[in-house]
Point group: C2
Chain length 108, copies 2
């Protein structure tokens, strides 16, 4: 089955959709209270290990680990092992902007 380009009403629009899909993928990965708190904490503290995060967030070990593992898999966090501990940090400092944006945005 063939698709002719002229049948596509607006090529730019299609590319925009693709970008928005990609953005949605990242947004989904942070659209959760616990995850946003992790990002917020890491925007202040550069690096924290899982136990530290767990204490601050009052989040059960396994659940937090799942969140962290997933955020890491989706390119939001970095992880570095030091002995028994794993230190997480923001992969992309820009992510803080989203938190700031949410903070200043009067919708929140």
């Amino acid at each position: 089955m063939f698709i002719y380009l002229h049948e596509i009403s607006n090529m730019n629009q299609i590319i925009e959709i693709e970008r928005m899909e990609k953005a949605a993928y990242t947004l989904k990965a942070i659209s959760n209270g616990t995850r946003l708190c992790v990002i917020s904490l890491l925007s202040q503290k550069e690096e924290m290990n899982v136990s530290q995060l767990g204490e601050e967030l009052n989040c059960e070990q396994s659940l937090l680990s799942h969140h962290l593992t997933d955020m890491r898999a989706k390119g939001i966090l970095n992880c570095r092992r030091d002995g028994k501990n794993c230190y997480y940090s923001l992969k992309n400092k820009q992510m803080i902007q989203i938190i700031d944006c949410i903070r200043t945005c009067n919708c929140v």
Copy 2:
């Protein structure tokens, strides 16, 4: 059952968690390719009716309607009826910032 304030390790943290939960609520409501496209379009065009949005987004009528209704219910969009048409617009212009933020953020 009583809760004593001194048992709460960090009151600010708790408030932060609450804020992040609220932020997550809004973020969830926009963390979808189609929804982000709606916001993006409305950041350029002020107002669009459902048919116009449907054409641009190549999205089935009922599905789009569900998205719009939900975004409206969650305080993201406004809706105004004019004859047979319903015109949607951004309730909060600030929402554009999130789109911009996503655009410039190199994570996307």
